[in-house]
């Protein structure tokens, strides 16, 4: 009897060991190809999540797949560009991603770290329509779309859009403001904008901006709005906040204009996304086909209509009602330049400053 129980126990032990070994061996075993075909196979794309993913899928990926039915796009979504960079760094020796669409402050870092491939007009013909100012100086991934930081407001409280960032300091709205603190790009941008408003050169120091932001902090309801900066205003949790123009325009429509987004007169900061080919990508040929399509007038127009991002190509024609709502790229908007090279060195410091000096409870 004892022996049989023992036998059974041994069998269970052996079985579980086998299961463990099998499950351990079940990982991906896709061999790295030599780039594959340009019109078939798959493309592993890494880009933003949420509404961005939904709209990009509908406006760009689905029409692409209709055009190239033999190429499958696998979309891996990330909440931020930093998370994308982190994923790509992890894959550096054995890339699994082909294309990454991310913020240019982060893609510049990726370029420096050798994570991306250069792009030329031969393999990506539509690059010819990307003006010089939207191309990388060293021919890495070009700009795919542009947006800018806006002031998000509740239309019931503000029948007229506020025209100045100073409204964030107005005691009348204390406790009803959401500000995304750094490392969010929104918070980094507000730091640069405040610095400029104070007549300071933020590359030299941000003391005056910090003093001003400290005055604003007690009136801030949340420094990390949840579910996001737009829903907070739509649900009435707050009446003012930072946000991005593109998503702001989208949610303004979604909420039946309960929320609006505007560019205050003191200026704003561009938020620029680049499209990047991953170095030694497993499906580099199909990836180039996709990048070319993403830079086509068709895809650029469709995405501008869907999520109000400004196109980066000269041949995209937007309908007047869309054109009025995407960020102007013709120099007509007051822009606070936030240099990406500078930002990569300042991100840590500014985040620290916010945590230690500005956000205090």
């Amino acid at each position: 009897m004892r022996a049989t129980i023992k036998g059974k126990m041994a069998a269970v032990a052996a079985l579980s060991a086998a299961v463990l070994v099998l499950s351990g061996c079940g990982g991906g075993s896709e061999a790295a190809g030599s780039g594959g075909s340009a019109t078939s196979g798959e493309v592993n794309l890494i880009a933003y999540s949420g509404v961005w993913q939904d709209q990009y899928t509908a406006a760009v990926i689905e029409p692409f797949q209709a055009k190239y039915p033999d190429i499958k796009i696998n979309y891996a979504s990330k909440r931020s560009s930093a998370e994308m960079l982190s994923a790509l760094q992890g894959q550096k020796n054995n890339p699994a991603t082909d294309v990454a669409i991310m913020d240019n402050s982060v893609s510049t870092t990726g370029n420096k770290q050798g994570l991306f491939e250069k792009v030329d007009e031969e393999s990506v013909p539509n690059l010819a329509n990307v003006p010089e100012k939207f191309r990388d100086k060293e021919a890495y991934g070009p700009v795919a779309m542009l947006d800018a930081v806006g002031l998000v407001y509740d239309t019931a409280t503000f029948p007229e859009a506020p025209d100045s960032w100073k409204v964030l300091w107005d005691p009348a709205y204390a406790g009803k403001i959401n500000v995304n603190a750094p490392p969010s790009l929104l918070g980094l941008s507000l730091t640069a904008i405040t610095s400029k408003m104070e007549g300071e050169d933020y590359t030299q120091g941000i003391d005056s901006a910090v003093t001003r932001l400290k005055e604003m902090a007690p009136g801030v309801q949340t420094f990390a709005p949840n579910p996001d900066e737009y829903q907070n205003v739509i649900t009435g949790q707050t009446v003012l906040g930072l946000g991005q123009n593109a998503r702001g325009q989208f949610y303004s429509d979604q909420s039946n204009k309960k929320m609006g987004v505007t560019f205050p007169k003191e200026g704003t900061v561009y938020q620029i996304n680049t499209i990047n080919l991953v170095k030694d990508a497993p499906h580099s040929e199909a990836a180039k086909t996709f990048v070319d399509y993403a830079l086509s007038a068709e895809a650029q127009t469709a995405f501008a209509k869907a999520l109000f991002y400004a196109p980066s190509v000269t041949n995209a024609e937007l309908p007047a009602d869309v054109k009025d709502r995407v960020v102007p790229t013709d120099g007509s908007l007051n822009i606070v330049p936030l240099d990406v090279e500078f930002l990569s060195s300042a991100r840590d410091k500014w985040t620290d400053t916010w945590k230690r000096q500005i956000i205090t409870n």
Binding site: A17, V19, A82, S86, G175, P227, Q237
Partner: protein, 306 residues
Amino acid sequence: MTVLEAPAAPERPSAQDEGQLERATERRNRRTYLALLLPGLLGLLVSFVFPLAYMVRMSFNQGAPDGVIVETFTLDTYIQPLTDPYYWRVTLDTFQMGVTVGILCVIVSYPVALFLARSTSKWRGLLVAIAIAPLLTSAVVRTYGWMVILGTNGLINSSLGGLGLIDTPLKLTNNMTGVTIGLVEIFMPYAILAMISGFGRLSPQLEEAAGSLGASKFKVFTRVTLPLCLPGLLTAFLLVFVLSISTFITPRLLGGGSVQVLATEIYDQTTGLLNWPFAAALSVILLVLFGLIIAVYQRLTKKIGG
């Protein structure tokens, strides 16, 4: 194996032989146990020991801006947080949050657990299931639920406003108050479970005996029931405390960026600033903190138990 073959000559095994036989069986048993443990140990090795070792190694690297990790061996990642008052404050806040949530959770869970432990109703099973049913919903969903309840226009503020009790909404979320309320509710099922299993020595007969000897209900509770419940209460407190100081999602969602605890700091360093070595060092510090607390707990339970 030779031991098994040896006792052949005597008809009745001597005491010495019996001892040898026992030892042989023991050895064989040990091997079986080992074989049984092996899959689990392997699983632990792959899923726990390796990542932990990787994390400890990572904590000695140097994090350069933009996620560049310089492979080296430095103590800077530890010296920085240990010499910086900001991280001491974050650690202290984490600790305070754990203690507050632990105490409150024990206080609100104790009556429920005591009722369930003593209940003789045929519905007891169902009642226990109901008490721990919140575990079926993810903590993220429940946290979002609290955001709705505690918000400026949430259930509490609109009710109080509607009754004319307040003019301006109370700030119940995006601060430590919100995080504490959320965590206490989220960890209640764990506390109740830990208490029920820790109330082993609680017996109605002892309470009845105390009562029949003239002790008032209050005295029975303070002199008999509560002392017998202490191991369960302590286990529940420790469990909730440990869960609280390591929790990320609730402080993140209900803290509104103003609640800075070790877990949110680790998250920011990992995903926002990509400083993995520094995040790893903070994680090791958190682990050491855990270790110390568990050691103290074991001493305490020994004292109470003994």
